[in-house]
Amino acid sequence: MAKFITNAGSSVVNANNNFLAYAKAAGLTVAVVAVIVLAVKFKNWGAARAAAGQTGMNVAQALAGKGGNSVNNIMNILKPGGSLIGSPGTSSNIRMMDGGLSAAQNLFSKLTQGGTLIQSSSYSGQLYQLANGGTVGLRTLSTRSGKNIVATIDVNLPGWKGIREIKFK
């Protein structure tokens, strides 16, 4: 863990130094840049801290994903380039996507990488506990399947409220 923290720390320092140089060239003050960097870090740290609080792991483990998907990786999958995947459903945190069951399975396997299948749940599909503390499920059946939905991915990532469900047509 000490090695992880040291390595992670040095790469963060290098990344921040590069960003600082670009920002200075763009005319931003050091104080403004520091505020931006801290804001981004605090957002991810907050998500990791919430995940850690629910699973008993420490914040560094939640950030790193403890051998599986980290909080950052999940966010990169669900919000690539800063925009949520798919289009809004009945609310903005329910996303609609095309591609049918194969697209759903493909995304589900990315999200659950390194996760643990939960066998004891009464969930009407496959449910995984993620290494970062979240839970993700894939189901193809519902008692009220509307709008030609063939599969739904349920997403519960502690500390992150971007997406709750992804429905596939």
Binding site: S91, V136, T143, D154
Partner: protein, 127 residues
């Protein structure tokens, strides 16, 4: 978002899909309800919808041979439902997540309510 908007949103979702307990918790958290108040707020919200006869509590059961899901209703009163959820929540010992404890489905009265608010919306399309 106030409770009325949350009520309409949850009912609209119940009309399209089975809604888990975790969804209500997720939405209340998203509204900024603190962890220590989450259980009380969640149970109050559920009891409100059930007292109005808009949702029913139970489990989603998959009938694999027929490739379909059925809703097994608990057939409890609102206060009995809330008491059962509270007991199972305590037994769980953590915040309920996907698949935990209970699911909700819309009732005929709930669907009627949704039709009413759709008709009351100024820009709703006439049938």
């Amino acid at each position: 978002m106030n409770k009325q908007i949350l009520k309409d949103r949850i009912l609209a979702e119940c009309d399209e899909d089975d809604v888990g307990l975790w969804v209500i918790i997720w939405e209340l958290e998203n509204q900024g309800v603190q962890n220590r108040h989450l259980k009380e707020e969640t149970l109050t919200f559920i009891e409100l919808l059930m007292n109005d006869g808009l949702i029913s509590a139970g489990h989603v059961r998959v009938v694999e041979q027929e490739n379909r899901a059925v809703f097994d209703h608990w057939n409890l009163t609102p206060s009995e439902t809330v008491a059962r959820i509270s007991k199972e929540w305590d037994k769980l010992g953590r915040l309920p997540t996907i698949g935990d404890i209970v699911y909700f489905t819309i009732t005929d009265k709930g669907m009627e309510y949704l039709r009413t608010i759709a008709n009351d919306t100024p820009n709703s399309e006439s049938v």
